[in-house]
Symmetry: C2
Amino acid sequence: MKNVPFLSTEIRDGFWKYYQDLNRTVTVRAVYDRFQETGRFDALKCSWTKGQPNRPHIFWDSDVAKWIEGAAYILQGQSEPELETIVDELVARVAKNQRADGYFNSYYLTIDPGNEFTGRERHELYCTGHWIEAAIAYHRATGKDTLLQCMLKNIDYIYEVFVVRQSAAFVTPGHQEIELALLKLYDYLGNVKHLELARFFLNNRGNNDKEQPDPQITAHMPVREMRTAVGHSVRAGYLYTAMAMLAKADNDAELKTACLALFEDIVNRKMAITGGVGAEHSGERFSYPYDLPNSDTYNETCAAIALALFCGAMQELDTDSRYSDVIERIYFNGFLSGVSLDGDKFFYTNPLEIDQKKYQRSTYQPISQRVKVFGCSCCPPNVVRMLASIPRYAYAVAEGHIYCNQFISGSTVLEVNGQSASLELTTNYPCDGRLHFAYHGPDVRLHVRIPAWCVEYTGPTHKGYAEFDLTDGAELTVDLPMEVHFVEANPDVQDNAGRCAVTRGPIVYCMEGVDNGENLRDITLLDNGTYHIAAENFPAPVIYMEACRRPKTERLYYPRTNRRQKFTAKLIPYFAFGNRGATDMLVWAMVQ
Amino acid sequence: MKNVPFLSTEIRDGFWKYYQDLNRTVTVRAVYDRFQETGRFDALKCSWTKGQPNRPHIFWDSDVAKWIEGAAYILQGQSEPELETIVDELVARVAKNQRADGYFNSYYLTIDPGNEFTGRERHELYCTGHWIEAAIAYHRATGKDTLLQCMLKNIDYIYEVFVVRQSAAFVTPGHQEIELALLKLYDYLGNVKHLELARFFLNNRGNNDKEQPDPQITAHMPVREMRTAVGHSVRAGYLYTAMAMLAKADNDAELKTACLALFEDIVNRKMAITGGVGAEHSGERFSYPYDLPNSDTYNETCAAIALALFCGAMQELDTDSRYSDVIERIYFNGFLSGVSLDGDKFFYTNPLEIDQKKYQRSTYQPISQRVKVFGCSCCPPNVVRMLASIPRYAYAVAEGHIYCNQFISGSTVLEVNGQSASLELTTNYPCDGRLHFAYHGPDVRLHVRIPAWCVEYTGPTHKGYAEFDLTDGAELTVDLPMEVHFVEANPDVQDNAGRCAVTRGPIVYCMEGVDNGENLRDITLLDNGTYHIAAENFPAPVIYMEACRRPKTERLYYPRTNRRQKFTAKLIPYFAFGNRGATDMLVWAMVQ
């Protein structure tokens, strides 16, 4: 099973069209402006000198490269001459300043020449990885190969330093990314040297006498022995993605076993209901099993993206709808919460509960309002590139089979048994669950994912898919009943004991103070009460639901009473929280 | 209304007899041993030199003085020659090393001579305050006046430096204590100079151009303007105690108004159900209203003691049983939790919830096991002096009236209208609520506090007291129905939303992992279930109660189910938690 490239799907309308347009018209430009202001693009000139503002930083190349990758994805869909000119100019700076031996990293070339590859934690190979992804994207979008050639030369140099001469001060990178990028490049160009280099980094990880074991950077044991997710959740996610890609490329059963265990450890023990991962803010890392705090959690936007990438790679390794279930959970919740509804502000961390009063405490609280710029700005360009390529995991094909994994209204061109085919999907998903397919092409079996949330679906499924044999001209309607659900967390998740999340379809809901007043934790939603769905100023419906809360009192402690005030609670999609000023927010509510 | 000195009450048996004996036979000696080992007593020799172990610390004098105060209280009750010899020796060191001008602080005399009174935050006057309390106690217990004379001379010097010459680098102390000690001394000796010095420190506090306002040390505004409790909760409590004492001594209505507001702010908005205060561990301070976290709270043992002292002073300022209600809450819960059942280990902080797994996080968690020694060891000697003087707020008298505020089985001698009287109380309190009084003396009105927890009491009360006119030889039985209650916290206490504490009489209960297994937060106690009380190996009964919990599952998220497993939960007195090895603990449980 092979994922169909996102470009094959033209998004026609609906939910993702809104975000695709927002990304193209607002987000990519907003991130550009912030990067321009902060000197990230100028840094590529490699001309910064002491005393000037905007001193280059070790991770700036990665920010720029991710932005270029996102811009390239946009260019791939349609002509944007202004954007293309900008990228050409940035690429020219890289080409101009690349060292004769192939080395390129604007920070080291400018600030610390001669000390390349001396610091494992200094993000050089991480930057290179993003440059590689950008180069592939830009080459694919425009046919221009300047950046790709630069990176091929750069990789040759890295291969020489790390594999042949082994002259770097470390063996494997402190921040993963190059591994998956090399595997993507191998998939793109087929050059086995790139596969070899990826394999080198993966096989030596936690497995080389020259390096100290370090769980924080997922370098604590050989990758094939890994069974539990630990450490920095973005780095871990990028590593696991590369492991799954290599497992497929090499048909490596041991590696696949590790990937399966890691996936299960994450989604069964270490993932917020929003798909957010990395609960421990100190170290931005996975915490112990079932430690999923709501208020002071981390859940970095990039970590949600990294988990989606991992699931996308697993989807090619193991035919099961559960990977797409997780991707969907991430897309509609913990990833999308990372960007504001107006497209130019971002969350780095994505809490599941905000009590504005807690900001009076001196202890850590995640920011409660999206901001336009971060010093460490990995998330905004990551949002740009993901939004620009949303259909990347929508379809997959295997011989004679099409898998519809994500439900995006639009048309997709595919290759079925060597012949061209097209599949139109008309849907209002995730606002409702009706999927209407129209197919043209050779006989095929269409596998439509029945999401795990859709417990009311009664038809037969196989590995999470409903199967339909289609012939040329076939039309098919699949209805996914989209009820409102109260969802419990495992009893081991102590923070959610006695509480449920409200979901409808793939969307997790939350209450905000601006709608529901103070003390959200004291609200009880009524299971046997009435509710109704309404379309309002959000990309997905809101829910009005009968609820009750305790009346105000002056007393601090008093004998238990059943006095409650009924009211109608308003729930909005979690991803849309924090768009109406600073206010409280809660996902996990009491239900009775 | 004037509190009757604790010595007037001889504890005969029951709950407090256990703790009084434990204190005399174990606790006072355990603290002595730790102080001896750590050089706190040797520091009084003022002979420490560089390179020696156990470098004296600025607050060690206060530790030693509190221990002497506690030892003196024990000596007041009975002869303990060994203890008296120890104290005599320590007092001799003070007398020997006191400077000719009257100054005494072992740290400054040894480590930093010439820099006396240069650092507001360096605890000099705090230490002096404790020396004063120790001097009064030892003089009262033994008639020996060496320490008292030392301190009178010391106070004269302080008066000269602070009031006359105004030559200190600060005006009012950074850690309060001397104010209440001076007022206690004024009460003891009647020397108006001591009252004046106390008034000087209180009136200048937050009210002197030479000092920056500082809420952390409760020096942010003039004391008469204070309405809300802020800052370091021990310092604040000692300050409020002194304010209440001065309000009474000066009949100062403005100060009384401030004290009433501060009391109400604390007990209506900032006090744990255990009587613990100081919710914010950073700064060991009061947090914002209703911020009463359970797990990462602070609730220092000394802060509970300080609040009890404040309530004891308020009790003399304003006849109302609510002050005694709070004292009782503290005594049986947040104070007593500070010491182990075997008497030689202590908590500095007193959390209301412990999840052992959380100690894997990098964020702050209070210690979950009492320890024998702390570097900052203010709490253990504070426990010693409080346990040795438990009846200090049990009785109060006013002309023709006796107030019974705390229920301690024993006999008390009092003065009623200038005549000697005795009141015997026979009770098993707090194990049950029957109080049997036998009175000898002139006609008197006895006011028996009806605790606020006793909502089932149906007789008439006035300001929280049931009133009985007694004549010589009268006997009286008062029954306080002692039911098990589920107690809610104000809806503004977000951490306790949907949860209740279990109380019986004055005792708050908790569940421990050692009795109830994992995931205490997931346990639901059944309001309509059965329960029974049992006497076990604790100084107060345990409660067995029907409860349920969710069964184990592998799934992380799943649609709400009503599947529950019934079991019998065991609840033990909160003060006794953490005495059976490291285990989880929970006060606030779900109830349905």
